[in-house]
Protein backbone atom coordinates (compact mmCIF):
# COMPACT_ATOMS: atom_id res chain seq x y z
CA UNK A 1 0.00 0.00 0.00
CA UNK A 2 1.08 3.59 -0.50
CA UNK A 3 2.16 5.20 2.76
CA UNK A 4 0.64 8.32 4.23
CA UNK A 5 3.31 11.03 3.67
CA UNK A 6 6.03 9.54 5.91
CA UNK A 7 8.11 12.60 6.82
CA UNK A 8 5.13 14.85 7.49
CA UNK A 9 3.37 12.15 9.51
CA UNK A 10 6.40 11.52 11.71
CA UNK A 11 6.78 15.19 12.60
CA UNK A 12 2.99 15.66 13.01
CA UNK A 13 3.00 12.92 15.62
CA UNK A 14 5.89 14.63 17.44
CA UNK A 15 4.05 17.95 17.33
CA UNK A 16 1.07 16.21 18.92
CA UNK A 17 3.32 14.84 21.65
CA UNK A 18 3.63 11.25 20.40
CA UNK A 19 6.74 9.30 19.34
CA UNK A 20 5.44 7.06 16.58
CA UNK A 21 7.31 4.93 14.04
CA UNK A 22 6.34 2.85 11.04
CA UNK A 23 6.01 -0.88 11.72
CA UNK A 24 5.51 -3.54 9.05
CA UNK A 25 3.24 -6.42 10.18
CA UNK A 26 4.42 -8.64 7.31
CA UNK A 27 8.10 -8.43 8.13
CA UNK A 28 7.77 -7.37 11.80
CA UNK A 29 10.34 -4.64 11.24
CA UNK A 30 10.36 -1.10 12.60
CA UNK A 31 11.43 1.58 10.14
CA UNK A 32 13.36 4.76 10.89
CA UNK A 33 13.70 7.17 9.29
CA UNK A 34 10.15 6.90 7.92
CA UNK A 35 9.95 5.88 4.27
CA UNK A 36 7.55 4.94 1.47
CA UNK A 37 9.31 1.56 1.27
CA UNK A 38 11.05 -0.32 4.07
CA UNK A 39 14.80 -0.52 3.39
CA UNK A 40 16.17 -3.91 2.28
CA UNK A 41 12.86 -5.83 2.60
CA UNK A 42 10.86 -3.50 0.36
CA UNK A 43 7.80 -3.85 2.60
CA UNK A 44 5.06 -1.27 2.01
CA UNK A 45 2.51 -2.33 4.63
CA UNK A 46 3.87 -0.18 7.45
CA UNK A 47 1.47 1.13 10.07
CA UNK A 48 2.22 3.86 12.59
CA UNK A 49 2.77 2.39 16.05
CA UNK A 50 4.28 3.48 19.36
CA UNK A 51 7.71 2.00 20.10
CA UNK A 52 8.83 1.47 23.70
CA UNK A 53 10.85 4.68 23.67
CA UNK A 54 13.77 2.81 25.18
CA UNK A 55 17.15 2.42 23.59
CA UNK A 56 20.90 2.19 24.00
CA UNK A 57 23.58 4.69 23.05
CA UNK A 58 25.40 3.25 20.00
CA UNK A 59 27.83 6.12 19.34
CA UNK A 60 28.39 9.53 20.90
CA UNK A 61 30.24 12.77 20.34
CA UNK A 62 30.24 16.28 21.76
CA UNK A 63 29.79 19.22 19.43
CA UNK A 64 32.20 21.71 20.96
CA UNK A 65 30.94 25.28 20.93
CA UNK A 66 32.72 28.55 21.44
CA UNK A 67 31.75 30.01 24.84
CA UNK A 68 29.35 31.23 26.00
CA UNK A 69 27.38 28.70 23.91
CA UNK A 70 27.13 25.33 25.66
CA UNK A 71 28.60 22.13 24.25
CA UNK A 72 26.02 19.76 22.78
CA UNK A 73 25.83 15.98 22.80
CA UNK A 74 25.24 14.34 19.41
CA UNK A 75 24.54 10.62 19.62
CA UNK A 76 23.26 7.68 17.67
CA UNK A 77 20.74 5.76 19.76
CA UNK A 78 19.72 2.22 18.86
CA UNK A 79 16.07 1.75 19.74
CA UNK A 80 15.10 -1.51 21.41
CA UNK A 81 12.98 -2.12 18.30
CA UNK A 82 16.11 -2.03 16.12
CA UNK A 83 16.38 1.22 14.15
CA UNK A 84 19.11 3.75 14.91
CA UNK A 85 18.67 7.49 14.96
CA UNK A 86 20.75 10.60 15.36
CA UNK A 87 19.67 12.52 18.45
CA UNK A 88 20.77 14.37 21.57
CA UNK A 89 21.23 12.67 24.92
CA UNK A 90 20.28 15.29 27.50
CA UNK A 91 19.90 15.53 31.25
CA UNK A 92 23.57 14.66 31.71
CA UNK A 93 26.82 16.39 30.84
CA UNK A 94 27.40 15.93 27.06
CA UNK A 95 30.79 14.30 27.56
CA UNK A 96 29.40 11.95 30.26
CA UNK A 97 27.25 10.10 27.73
CA UNK A 98 28.67 6.60 27.24
CA UNK A 99 28.20 3.99 24.55
CA UNK A 100 25.98 1.26 26.00
CA UNK A 101 24.09 3.67 28.27
CA UNK A 102 20.36 2.93 28.52
CA UNK A 103 18.21 5.88 27.50
CA UNK A 104 14.54 6.85 27.27
CA UNK A 105 12.91 9.06 24.60
CA UNK A 106 11.32 12.39 25.35
CA UNK A 107 9.89 15.13 23.16
CA UNK A 108 11.23 18.65 23.52
CA UNK A 109 11.24 21.92 21.60
CA UNK A 110 13.71 21.87 18.71
CA UNK A 111 15.61 24.71 17.06
CA UNK A 112 13.19 25.17 14.14
CA UNK A 113 9.97 26.01 16.01
CA UNK A 114 9.18 22.27 15.96
CA UNK A 115 9.29 19.35 18.37
CA UNK A 116 12.21 16.94 18.30
CA UNK A 117 12.88 13.59 19.90
CA UNK A 118 15.76 13.46 22.36
CA UNK A 119 16.82 10.95 25.00
CA UNK A 120 17.67 11.04 28.68
CA UNK A 121 19.38 8.42 30.80
CA UNK A 122 16.77 5.80 31.64
CA UNK A 123 17.62 5.94 35.33
CA UNK A 124 16.83 9.68 35.46
CA UNK A 125 13.24 9.16 34.34
Amino acid sequence: MTQEAPTATYFRHLTEGRFMLQHSPSTDEWVYYPRMIAPKTGATDMEWAAPSGLGTVYATTVKRMRPPAADVNIAIVELDEGPRMMTHVQGIAPEAVRIGMRVRACIVDGPDDAKILVFEPETAA
Binding site: Y33, A59, T61, V62, R64, I74
Partner: protein
Protein backbone atom coordinates in the same frame (compact mmCIF):
# COMPACT_ATOMS: atom_id res chain seq x y z
CA UNK B 1 30.52 -14.71 -11.42
CA UNK B 2 32.65 -12.28 -13.39
CA UNK B 3 35.16 -10.29 -11.40
CA UNK B 4 34.99 -7.58 -14.05
CA UNK B 5 38.62 -7.95 -15.00
CA UNK B 6 38.13 -7.44 -18.72
CA UNK B 7 39.07 -3.77 -18.35
CA UNK B 8 42.40 -4.60 -16.67
CA UNK B 9 45.19 -2.73 -18.43
CA UNK B 10 42.93 -1.57 -21.27
CA UNK B 11 43.27 2.10 -20.34
CA UNK B 12 45.92 4.24 -18.73
CA UNK B 13 46.51 7.52 -16.98
CA UNK B 14 48.65 9.63 -19.31
CA UNK B 15 48.38 13.07 -17.75
CA UNK B 16 48.21 14.38 -14.19
CA UNK B 17 48.41 17.81 -12.62
CA UNK B 18 47.57 19.93 -9.60
CA UNK B 19 47.18 23.69 -9.44
CA UNK B 20 46.61 26.32 -6.78
CA UNK B 21 46.95 23.96 -3.82
CA UNK B 22 46.78 25.85 -0.53
CA UNK B 23 45.72 29.41 -1.20
CA UNK B 24 44.92 30.78 -4.64
CA UNK B 25 43.38 34.16 -3.87
CA UNK B 26 41.27 35.77 -6.54
CA UNK B 27 40.74 32.65 -8.61
CA UNK B 28 37.29 31.14 -9.09
CA UNK B 29 36.75 27.39 -8.76
CA UNK B 30 36.34 27.16 -12.53
CA UNK B 31 39.58 29.02 -13.17
CA UNK B 32 41.47 26.66 -10.86
CA UNK B 33 39.88 23.56 -12.42
CA UNK B 34 40.46 24.82 -15.95
CA UNK B 35 44.13 25.44 -15.28
CA UNK B 36 44.66 22.02 -13.67
CA UNK B 37 42.95 20.46 -16.67
CA UNK B 38 45.12 22.40 -19.10
CA UNK B 39 48.27 21.34 -17.24
CA UNK B 40 47.21 17.67 -17.20
CA UNK B 41 46.52 17.74 -20.94
CA UNK B 42 49.88 19.40 -21.53
CA UNK B 43 51.52 16.81 -19.25
CA UNK B 44 50.11 14.13 -21.55
CA UNK B 45 51.44 15.90 -24.64
CA UNK B 46 47.91 16.36 -25.96
CA UNK B 47 45.88 19.43 -26.85
CA UNK B 48 42.52 20.34 -25.35
CA UNK B 49 40.87 19.97 -28.74
CA UNK B 50 41.59 16.23 -28.53
CA UNK B 51 39.59 15.81 -25.31
CA UNK B 52 36.27 14.19 -26.21
CA UNK B 53 35.27 12.93 -22.76
CA UNK B 54 34.87 15.49 -19.98
CA UNK B 55 34.33 14.53 -16.33
CA UNK B 56 34.16 17.17 -13.61
CA UNK B 57 32.88 18.27 -10.23
CA UNK B 58 32.90 21.84 -8.98
CA UNK B 59 31.75 22.71 -5.45
CA UNK B 60 28.63 24.66 -6.27
CA UNK B 61 28.00 24.22 -10.02
CA UNK B 62 25.86 21.14 -10.51
CA UNK B 63 26.01 21.42 -14.29
CA UNK B 64 29.75 22.04 -14.32
CA UNK B 65 30.26 19.66 -17.24
CA UNK B 66 28.43 22.12 -19.46
CA UNK B 67 30.28 25.05 -17.95
CA UNK B 68 33.77 23.71 -18.51
CA UNK B 69 33.05 22.50 -22.05
CA UNK B 70 32.00 26.05 -22.86
CA UNK B 71 34.94 27.48 -20.92
CA UNK B 72 37.44 25.44 -22.95
CA UNK B 73 35.48 25.95 -26.15
CA UNK B 74 35.37 22.23 -26.83
CA UNK B 75 32.46 19.96 -27.79
CA UNK B 76 32.91 16.67 -25.92
CA UNK B 77 31.08 13.51 -26.99
CA UNK B 78 30.61 12.57 -23.35
CA UNK B 79 30.07 15.01 -20.47
CA UNK B 80 29.66 13.78 -16.92
CA UNK B 81 29.34 15.75 -13.70
CA UNK B 82 27.97 12.98 -11.52
CA UNK B 83 28.67 13.19 -7.79
CA UNK B 84 29.10 10.84 -4.88
CA UNK B 85 31.07 13.31 -2.76
CA UNK B 86 34.86 13.23 -2.72
CA UNK B 87 34.91 9.78 -4.30
CA UNK B 88 33.13 11.01 -7.45
CA UNK B 89 36.29 10.98 -9.56
CA UNK B 90 36.66 7.23 -9.11
CA UNK B 91 33.23 6.83 -10.65
CA UNK B 92 34.44 9.10 -13.43
CA UNK B 93 37.41 6.77 -13.97
CA UNK B 94 35.04 3.79 -14.17
CA UNK B 95 32.87 5.45 -16.80
CA UNK B 96 35.85 6.83 -18.69
CA UNK B 97 37.46 3.37 -18.83
CA UNK B 98 34.24 1.83 -20.12
CA UNK B 99 33.73 4.55 -22.72
CA UNK B 100 37.36 4.48 -23.85
CA UNK B 101 37.37 0.69 -24.14
CA UNK B 102 34.12 0.79 -26.09
CA UNK B 103 35.60 3.33 -28.48
CA UNK B 104 32.99 5.95 -27.63
CA UNK B 105 35.71 8.43 -26.74
CA UNK B 106 39.50 8.59 -27.16
CA UNK B 107 40.75 11.00 -24.49
CA UNK B 108 39.07 11.61 -21.13
CA UNK B 109 39.84 14.57 -18.88
CA UNK B 110 38.78 14.27 -15.23
CA UNK B 111 39.06 17.54 -13.35
CA UNK B 112 38.18 19.27 -10.09
CA UNK B 113 38.80 22.69 -8.60
CA UNK B 114 37.71 24.63 -5.54
CA UNK B 115 38.47 28.00 -3.99
CA UNK B 116 36.76 27.16 -0.70
CA UNK B 117 39.54 28.61 1.48
CA UNK B 118 39.90 32.05 -0.04
CA UNK B 119 36.38 32.11 -1.52
CA UNK B 120 33.99 30.61 1.05
CA UNK B 121 36.34 30.45 4.04
CA UNK B 122 34.97 27.07 5.13
CA UNK B 123 34.31 23.56 3.89
CA UNK B 124 31.75 23.64 1.09
CA UNK B 125 29.50 20.58 1.21
CA UNK B 126 27.26 19.43 -1.61
CA UNK B 127 25.33 17.07 0.64
CA UNK B 128 21.78 18.22 1.35
CA UNK B 129 21.13 18.19 5.12
CA UNK B 130 18.80 15.36 6.08
CA UNK B 131 15.50 16.52 7.55
CA UNK B 132 15.99 13.87 10.22
CA UNK B 133 19.52 14.96 11.15
CA UNK B 134 19.25 18.72 10.71
CA UNK B 135 17.06 19.35 13.79
CA UNK B 136 20.02 18.12 15.88
CA UNK B 137 22.46 20.49 14.13
CA UNK B 138 25.36 18.04 13.92
CA UNK B 139 28.54 19.91 12.98
CA UNK B 140 28.87 17.77 9.88
CA UNK B 141 30.85 16.29 8.37
CA UNK B 142 33.10 16.12 11.46
CA UNK B 143 30.31 15.00 13.84
CA UNK B 144 29.51 11.96 11.70
CA UNK B 145 33.15 10.88 11.52
CA UNK B 146 33.47 11.53 15.27
CA UNK B 147 30.58 9.15 15.89
CA UNK B 148 32.39 6.49 13.86
CA UNK B 149 35.58 7.18 15.81
CA UNK B 150 33.71 6.85 19.13
CA UNK B 151 32.49 3.44 18.06
CA UNK B 152 35.95 2.30 16.93
CA UNK B 153 37.40 3.39 20.26
CA UNK B 154 34.64 1.59 22.16
CA UNK B 155 34.89 -1.68 20.25
CA UNK B 156 38.63 -1.89 19.57
CA UNK B 157 40.22 0.32 22.20
CA UNK B 158 41.57 2.76 19.63
CA UNK B 159 43.07 5.74 21.46
CA UNK B 160 43.32 9.51 20.86
CA UNK B 161 47.10 9.00 20.65
CA UNK B 162 46.63 6.53 17.81
CA UNK B 163 44.34 8.97 16.00
CA UNK B 164 46.98 11.65 16.50
CA UNK B 165 49.62 9.37 15.01
CA UNK B 166 47.74 9.51 11.70
CA UNK B 167 48.07 13.30 11.69
CA UNK B 168 51.73 13.10 12.70
CA UNK B 169 52.51 10.68 9.87
CA UNK B 170 50.69 12.88 7.36
CA UNK B 171 52.71 15.88 8.53
CA UNK B 172 56.00 13.98 8.21
CA UNK B 173 55.14 13.21 4.58
CA UNK B 174 53.97 16.80 3.99
CA UNK B 175 57.35 18.03 5.19
CA UNK B 176 58.83 16.20 2.17
CA UNK B 177 56.34 17.76 -0.26
CA UNK B 178 57.09 21.35 -1.29
CA UNK B 179 53.49 21.72 -2.50
CA UNK B 180 52.04 20.90 0.95
CA UNK B 181 50.08 23.72 2.60
CA UNK B 182 50.77 22.76 6.21
CA UNK B 183 54.36 22.01 7.10
CA UNK B 184 56.56 22.04 10.18
CA UNK B 185 56.99 19.79 13.18
CA UNK B 186 53.95 18.08 14.67
CA UNK B 187 54.21 15.74 17.67
CA UNK B 188 51.56 13.51 19.21
CA UNK B 189 51.40 15.97 22.12
CA UNK B 190 51.02 18.88 19.71
CA UNK B 191 48.11 17.13 18.01
CA UNK B 192 46.46 16.23 21.32
CA UNK B 193 46.69 19.81 22.54
CA UNK B 194 44.66 21.21 19.63
CA UNK B 195 41.06 22.23 20.23
CA UNK B 196 38.30 19.61 20.35
CA UNK B 197 35.81 19.98 17.48
CA UNK B 198 33.66 16.87 17.99
CA UNK B 199 35.00 14.40 20.53
CA UNK B 200 37.31 12.60 20.06
CA UNK B 201 38.30 14.59 16.96
CA UNK B 202 40.42 17.70 17.43
CA UNK B 203 41.63 20.31 14.96
CA UNK B 204 44.64 18.12 14.19
CA UNK B 205 42.32 15.20 13.36
CA UNK B 206 40.50 17.24 10.71
CA UNK B 207 41.50 17.85 7.10
CA UNK B 208 42.59 21.27 5.96
CA UNK B 209 40.30 23.76 4.27
CA UNK B 210 42.29 24.90 1.24
CA UNK B 211 41.96 25.92 -2.36
CA UNK B 212 43.22 23.62 -5.04
CA UNK B 213 42.62 21.80 -8.28
CA UNK B 214 43.61 18.47 -9.78
CA UNK B 215 43.19 16.71 -13.09
CA UNK B 216 44.06 13.44 -14.81
CA UNK B 217 43.89 12.37 -18.45
CA UNK B 218 43.06 8.83 -19.54
CA UNK B 219 43.23 7.06 -22.88
CA UNK B 220 43.28 3.52 -24.28
CA UNK B 221 46.46 1.51 -23.87
CA UNK B 222 47.15 1.54 -27.62
CA UNK B 223 47.24 5.33 -27.70
CA UNK B 224 48.86 5.73 -24.28
CA UNK B 225 52.27 4.38 -25.22
CA UNK B 226 52.95 7.10 -27.78
CA UNK B 227 52.38 10.05 -25.47
CA UNK B 228 54.83 12.23 -23.52
CA UNK B 229 55.05 10.34 -20.24
CA UNK B 230 55.17 6.62 -19.47
CA UNK B 231 51.55 5.49 -19.15
CA UNK B 232 50.27 4.38 -15.75
CA UNK B 233 47.87 1.51 -16.37
CA UNK B 234 44.46 1.23 -14.78
CA UNK B 235 44.44 -2.27 -13.27
CA UNK B 236 41.19 -2.15 -11.31
CA UNK B 237 38.61 0.34 -10.09
CA UNK B 238 35.44 -0.24 -8.09
CA UNK B 239 32.92 1.76 -6.09
CA UNK B 240 30.43 0.86 -3.37
CA UNK B 241 27.64 2.80 -1.64
CA UNK B 242 26.15 1.64 1.64
CA UNK B 243 24.35 4.64 3.12
CA UNK B 244 24.15 8.42 3.17
CA UNK B 245 23.56 9.48 6.79
CA UNK B 246 25.99 8.04 9.31
CA UNK B 247 23.17 6.67 11.52
CA UNK B 248 22.15 4.38 8.66
CA UNK B 249 25.50 2.55 8.38
CA UNK B 250 25.09 -0.97 9.78
CA UNK B 251 28.37 -1.05 11.69
CA UNK B 252 30.19 2.24 12.20
CA UNK B 253 33.55 0.44 12.33
CA UNK B 254 33.21 -1.18 8.88
CA UNK B 255 32.91 0.79 5.65
CA UNK B 256 32.05 -0.05 2.06
CA UNK B 257 35.81 0.06 1.39
CA UNK B 258 35.71 -3.65 2.28
CA UNK B 259 33.64 -4.12 -0.86
CA UNK B 260 35.22 -1.58 -3.22
CA UNK B 261 38.70 -2.78 -2.25
CA UNK B 262 37.89 -6.46 -2.72
CA UNK B 263 36.40 -5.84 -6.15
CA UNK B 264 39.26 -3.61 -7.28
CA UNK B 265 41.85 -6.16 -6.14
CA UNK B 266 39.93 -8.96 -7.90
CA UNK B 267 39.84 -6.97 -11.14
CA UNK B 268 43.54 -6.25 -10.89
CA UNK B 269 44.48 -9.81 -9.88
CA UNK B 270 46.49 -8.32 -7.01
CA UNK B 271 46.65 -8.53 -3.23
CA UNK B 272 47.65 -6.00 -0.60
CA UNK B 273 51.14 -7.51 -0.61
CA UNK B 274 51.63 -6.26 -4.18
CA UNK B 275 50.95 -2.61 -3.31
CA UNK B 276 53.98 -0.30 -3.01
CA UNK B 277 52.23 2.95 -2.12
CA UNK B 278 48.77 3.83 -0.78
CA UNK B 279 46.90 7.14 -0.97
CA UNK B 280 43.57 7.26 0.88
CA UNK B 281 41.13 10.10 1.41
CA UNK B 282 41.97 11.17 4.96
CA UNK B 283 39.22 13.68 5.65
CA UNK B 284 39.72 12.82 9.32
CA UNK B 285 42.30 10.70 11.12
CA UNK B 286 39.78 7.91 11.72
CA UNK B 287 39.45 7.51 7.93
CA UNK B 288 43.00 6.29 7.47
CA UNK B 289 42.51 3.73 10.25
CA UNK B 290 39.19 2.50 8.85
CA UNK B 291 40.34 2.33 5.24
CA UNK B 292 43.64 0.53 5.90
CA UNK B 293 41.66 -2.05 7.88
CA UNK B 294 38.84 -2.34 5.36
CA UNK B 295 41.21 -2.57 2.37
CA UNK B 296 43.06 -5.39 4.13
CA UNK B 297 46.41 -3.74 4.97
CA UNK B 298 45.87 -4.67 8.62
CA UNK B 299 43.20 -6.57 10.52
CA UNK B 300 39.98 -4.95 11.70
CA UNK B 301 40.62 -3.12 14.93
CA UNK B 302 44.40 -3.07 14.49
CA UNK B 303 44.61 0.12 12.44
CA UNK B 304 45.41 2.30 15.44
CA UNK B 305 48.39 0.28 16.73
CA UNK B 306 49.56 -0.35 13.13
CA UNK B 307 49.76 3.36 12.37
CA UNK B 308 51.11 4.31 15.80
CA UNK B 309 53.99 1.89 15.19
CA UNK B 310 55.22 4.17 12.41
CA UNK B 311 54.32 1.68 9.68
CA UNK B 312 52.82 4.27 7.33
CA UNK B 313 55.25 7.12 8.04
CA UNK B 314 58.36 7.94 5.98
CA UNK B 315 60.68 4.95 6.35
CA UNK B 316 57.81 2.64 7.34
CA UNK B 317 56.78 -0.62 5.72
CA UNK B 318 53.67 0.77 3.98
CA UNK B 319 53.92 4.34 2.64
CA UNK B 320 50.50 5.97 3.02
CA UNK B 321 49.49 9.46 1.86
CA UNK B 322 52.94 10.37 0.67
CA UNK B 323 51.85 13.89 -0.35
CA UNK B 324 50.75 14.70 3.21
CA UNK B 325 47.10 13.89 2.53
CA UNK B 326 44.05 15.99 3.18
CA UNK B 327 45.39 16.50 6.70
CA UNK B 328 48.55 18.39 5.71
CA UNK B 329 48.90 18.66 1.90
CA UNK B 330 45.64 20.19 0.74
CA UNK B 331 41.92 19.65 1.02
CA UNK B 332 39.77 21.75 -1.28
CA UNK B 333 36.59 19.85 -0.33
CA UNK B 334 36.50 16.83 -2.67
CA UNK B 335 39.99 15.44 -2.22
CA UNK B 336 39.58 12.08 -3.99
CA UNK B 337 41.23 13.10 -7.26
CA UNK B 338 44.40 14.13 -5.42
CA UNK B 339 44.90 10.53 -4.22
CA UNK B 340 45.08 9.51 -7.87
CA UNK B 341 47.45 12.29 -8.87
CA UNK B 342 49.85 11.40 -6.05
CA UNK B 343 49.68 7.71 -6.96
CA UNK B 344 50.51 8.54 -10.60
CA UNK B 345 53.41 10.78 -9.54
CA UNK B 346 54.85 8.01 -7.36
CA UNK B 347 54.61 5.46 -10.17
CA UNK B 348 56.24 7.91 -12.59
CA UNK B 349 59.11 8.48 -10.18
CA UNK B 350 58.20 12.19 -10.03
CA UNK B 351 57.72 12.51 -6.26
CA UNK B 352 61.06 14.10 -5.38
CA UNK B 353 62.13 13.83 -1.74
CA UNK B 354 59.11 11.67 -0.89
CA UNK B 355 59.62 9.21 -3.78
CA UNK B 356 59.09 5.54 -2.91
CA UNK B 357 61.99 3.84 -4.66
CA UNK B 358 60.89 1.37 -7.30
CA UNK B 359 57.16 1.86 -6.75
CA UNK B 360 55.28 -0.16 -9.38
CA UNK B 361 51.78 -0.64 -7.95
CA UNK B 362 49.74 2.07 -6.22
CA UNK B 363 46.34 2.09 -4.58
CA UNK B 364 44.21 5.24 -4.48
CA UNK B 365 41.08 5.29 -2.36
CA UNK B 366 38.26 7.82 -2.34
CA UNK B 367 35.55 8.54 0.20
CA UNK B 368 32.32 10.49 -0.20
CA UNK B 369 29.61 11.78 2.10
CA UNK B 370 29.94 10.54 5.68
CA UNK B 371 31.86 7.32 4.98
CA UNK B 372 28.98 6.72 2.53
CA UNK B 373 30.61 6.18 -0.85
CA UNK B 374 33.86 4.23 -1.05
CA UNK B 375 35.92 3.72 -4.19
CA UNK B 376 39.24 2.05 -4.84
CA UNK B 377 41.60 2.27 -7.81
CA UNK B 378 44.67 0.15 -8.47
CA UNK B 379 47.21 1.33 -11.00
CA UNK B 380 50.62 0.14 -12.12
CA UNK B 381 53.60 0.87 -14.31
CA UNK B 382 53.54 -0.54 -17.84
CA UNK B 383 55.06 -3.96 -17.18
CA UNK B 384 52.52 -4.78 -14.44
CA UNK B 385 49.79 -5.27 -17.07
Amino acid sequence: MSVGNNLRGKTAFVGAATFGCGEAPGYTAMELAAEAGRLAVEDAGLSLSQIDGLFICLPADFLSGLSIAEYYGIRPKMTNNSRTGGSAFFGHVEWAALALDAGLIDYALIVYGSNQRTGAGKLVSAQAPSVFEHPYRPNNPVASYALAASRHMHVYGTTPEQLASVAVSARQWANLNPEAFRQGPLSIDDALSTRLIADPLRVADCCLVTDGAAAVVMTRADRAKDLRKPPISLLGVASATWHSEISQLDDLTVTAATESGARAFAQAGLTVADVDVVNVYDAFTINTILFLEDLGFCRKGEGGPFIASGAISPGGTLPVNTNGGGLSFCHPGMYGLFTMVESIRQLRNEAGARQIAGAEIALAHGNGGTLSSQATCLMGVAHTV
